[in-house]
Amino acid sequence: MRHIIAVLLENEAGALSRVVGLFSQRNFNIETLTVAPTEDPTLSRLTVTTSGSDRVIEQITKQLNKLIEVVKLVDLTEGEHIEREMMLIKLKATGQHRDEVKRTVDIFRGQIVDVTSSIYTVQLIGDQGKLDAFINAIGEAYVLETVRTGVSGIARGDKVLSL
């Protein structure tokens, strides 16, 4: 099963390499990884999406917690949560297809952020499923380049991941 794990990490040089290293060292799967400093400049927040059996996920959270620089973590998929990912995607947009691309972007509530006579560059935000669905709807033949940020997540309701 797919899990989204949010981690508060000491914002120190080398801390990220410990997290990444842990995944390869222990043969854990890593699908996406995002990291940025938080409003507290001493902390980074990292979101990792991974998959595995319950036993593997338990090991992942325990091993992450064992890293000295990991301050706190939560498996967001254990509760209600919101996940978002941003994608920038460059699409072929010529001839009669140009309008079709525009319509699809509108349907998915994306924004065209750059235009040339033959290309639309689109920004799209949503969960992984929505971004995948957009690429499907456009058709891979029209996709020139994609860049995705990886998943960020946060719990719904009162739950807060902080110190």
């Binding site: 000491e10 040089a13 080398g14 390499s17 410990r18 290293g21 060292q25 036993r55 338990e58 090991q59 325990k62 091993q63 917690n65 064992k66 000295i68 620089e69 990991v70 301050v71 110190l163």
Partner: protein, 573 residues
């Protein structure tokens, strides 16, 4: 406030940490530190002949004393040579602080002379590592390193010190912190009372119980409590390879050790048990055999300071995260309060079953009629001559298994071996590290001619510092454990396991100014050992020629359960 250079801070911090010995080897990046070292007398430095030996010495000191060992090496090759020893300590949860030189911070990343990314290289084999960014950080980082290395589940900590952090003319205020607090690191100090209560109830209702005493019992200084618990309940005990001595081997409750070369009775009893209480053991693959076939009827109570060791390979029914000592003290208090006792009839039935299993193999081996010594004989003689009271520092291979099987440890911290990483070359420097700190104790390195040659250069260190360890080399002229597997699994094709052109160990030992004794017959064995131990102030190398065809038994059948064993070359359960 005192003003010190980074180099002086390194040494002063170690002094304030009450460190007596450090082990190391100088080089360009640590010359400032070595210069500061030379200007004081409190800390003694042991100059090894290879950095790996420095780490094993520090490691073994920690294993024997429970206090972290300290290593000082230079950047690049100095640091990478230390990696095997760091990994050895990491796998066995041994507290150690390794100070590594680094090229000046201005050169990092430029492939400077003797530059290695030691932060990156050591990362997977340390509990934690630090890079010094400013000289004034040094005391705080050293304090943190000792705290992290020796608290919770212990392990090695590396501090990477760029040369320009130790410049003698750059002085900063020195202050060694009294204590450390880290928001991201707070190891458990006691177990969950509810879980402990549940565990005690489960223990009292067991009909076929087993207690596993692991390395965490020794590391957590909980041997006395574990022993008291087992004796209170009259339950059978097995100690893992890392836990030997954690429960006295002379106690009738002891069944030997479990796993690949464990006893028939320990393995069979585990397989048939209905409850296993594991105290600081991590159910590693050399213990469990095939995990899906592991002890099918047993419920498991697992005490461990490291939550990630619990349910990693074998699911625990009652997990207890906490230090073995405090958890056991709470368990004993609960047992003292309760009126409940274990089912006496079930327990007596269980014991009579176990006593039958004890008869099945009983550590037997066959003597040779051709006069060649058996390795088991040698260890039994060693046990006799040292009255079971020596520190046994083992290398890795068949001799390690024989030493663990035939030397009976009644005290913790006496059996010193590389259990997790299986590092050949560990034994000799380990013995040196122990002997330095316990000069009056008998300290023996049990080794083979293969392992010994991986760190024999330390003969020289022993000459320099007069370290009179005794080396019992079981010389079978082959890499015995490799050969055994080749005999069993590869139709006896001895691919590269035969050591051609061995040195004349007698002359070699002599060259370094030590004494050697060669033993080839049973008649020579005890007198040679007695002579060696009578020479209190000399390093003695006993080159003991043994039967090269001998195998270690019992041996678990691969991919099977705990009760499936070879008991000899021809007998299988």
């Amino acid at each position: 406030m005192e003003m010190l250079s980074g180099a002086e801070m390194v040494i002063r911090s170690l002094q304030d940490q009450k460190i007596e010995y450090i082990y190391g080897y100088p080089g360009g990046s640590v010359l400032h530190i070595y210069d500061a070292l030379a200007q004081q007398e409190q800390i003694k430095h042991i100059l090894v002949r290879h950095e790996q030996a420095a780490t094993h010495m520090a490691d073994a000191y920690a294993r024997a004393s429970g206090k972290p060992g300290v290593v000082l090496v230079t950047s690049g090759p100095g640091a990478t040579n230390a990696v095997t020893g760091i990994a050895t300590a990491f796998m066995d949860s041994i507290p150690m602080v390794v100070l590594c030189g680094q090229v000046p911070s201005t050169l990092i990343g430029e492939d400077a002379f003797q530059e290695t990314d030691m932060m990156g290289v050591s990362r997977p084999v340390v509990k934690h590592n630090f890079a010094v960014k400013h000289p004034s950080e040094i005391p705080g980082l050293i304090k943190k390193a000792f705290y992290i290395a020796s608290s919770g589940r212990p392990g090695p900590v590396v501090i990477d010190i760029p040369k320009d952090m130790t410049t003698p003319t750059d002085k900063f205020e020195y202050h060694y912190p009294e204590s450390v607090s880290m928001r991201s690191y707070s190891p458990a100090t006691r177990g969950h009372s509810g879980q402990i209560k549940k565990a005690v109830e489960l223990l009292l209702s067991a009909r076929r119980p087993m207690i596993i005493v692991g390395g965490g019992t020794i590391g957590g200084r909980a041997s006395a409590e574990a022993t008291e618990l087992a004796r209170t309940l009259n339950y059978p005990v097995t100690t893992t390879l890392m836990g030997l001595g954690g429960f006295p081997a002379s106690d009738p409750l002891w069944l030997g050790w479990p796993g690949m070369h464990g006893t028939y009775e320990a393995n069979t009893a585990l397989h048939n048990s209905d409850l296993i209480l594991s105290i600081g053991a991590r159910f590693d693959d050399r213990v469990t055999n095939a995990t899906e076939k592991f002890c099918p009827t047993a419920k498991i109570i697992h005490i461990d300071i490291d939550p990630s060791s619990i349910s990693k390979t074998i699911a625990a029914d009652v997990p207890i995260v906490g230090p073995a000592k405090s958890v056991l003290i709470e368990m004993l208090a609960l047992l003292a309060k309760t009126d409940r006792v274990p089912d006496a009839e079930a327990l007596s039935e269980w014991w009579s079953q176990i006593d039958q299993w004890r008869q099945r193999h009983g550590g037997r081996y066959e003597l040779n009629d051709n006069g060649l010594l058996k390795p088991q004989q040698v260890i039994e003689a060693l046990y006799k001559v040292t009255k079971g009271d020596a520190y046994i520092c083992s290398d890795v291979g068949q001799h390690q298994m024989f030493a663990a099987q035939y030397y009976k440890f009644d005290k913790p911290n006496r059996w010193i071996n590389s259990g997790g990483l299986g590092t050949m070359g560990f034994g000799f420097p380990a013995a040196m590290g122990v002997k330095l700190h316990y000069p009056d104790a008998e300290v023996v390195c049990v080794t083979g001619e293969g392992s010994f040659q991986m760190n024999l250069q330390e003969f020289s260190t022993c000459s320099q510092y007069d370290i009179p360890v005794k080396i019992v080399c079981l010389n079978n002229q082959s890499l015995g454990m490799v050969r055994q597997w080749q005999d069993m699994n590869y139709d006896s094709r001895h691919s590269q396991s035969y050591v051609k052109s061995l040195p004349d160990f007698h002359k070699l030992t002599d060259a370094y100014g030590h004494k050697a004794i060669t033993v080839k017959t049973e008649a020579e064995l005890i007198p040679a050992l007695e002579e060696a131990f009578a020479l209190k102030d000399e390093l003695v190398f006993l080159d003991i020629h043994i039967d090269p065809t001998e195998h270690v038994y019992p041996m678990l059948v691969p991919k099977a359960s705990m009760r499936d064993m070879w008991l000899s070359k021809t007998e299988r359960t």
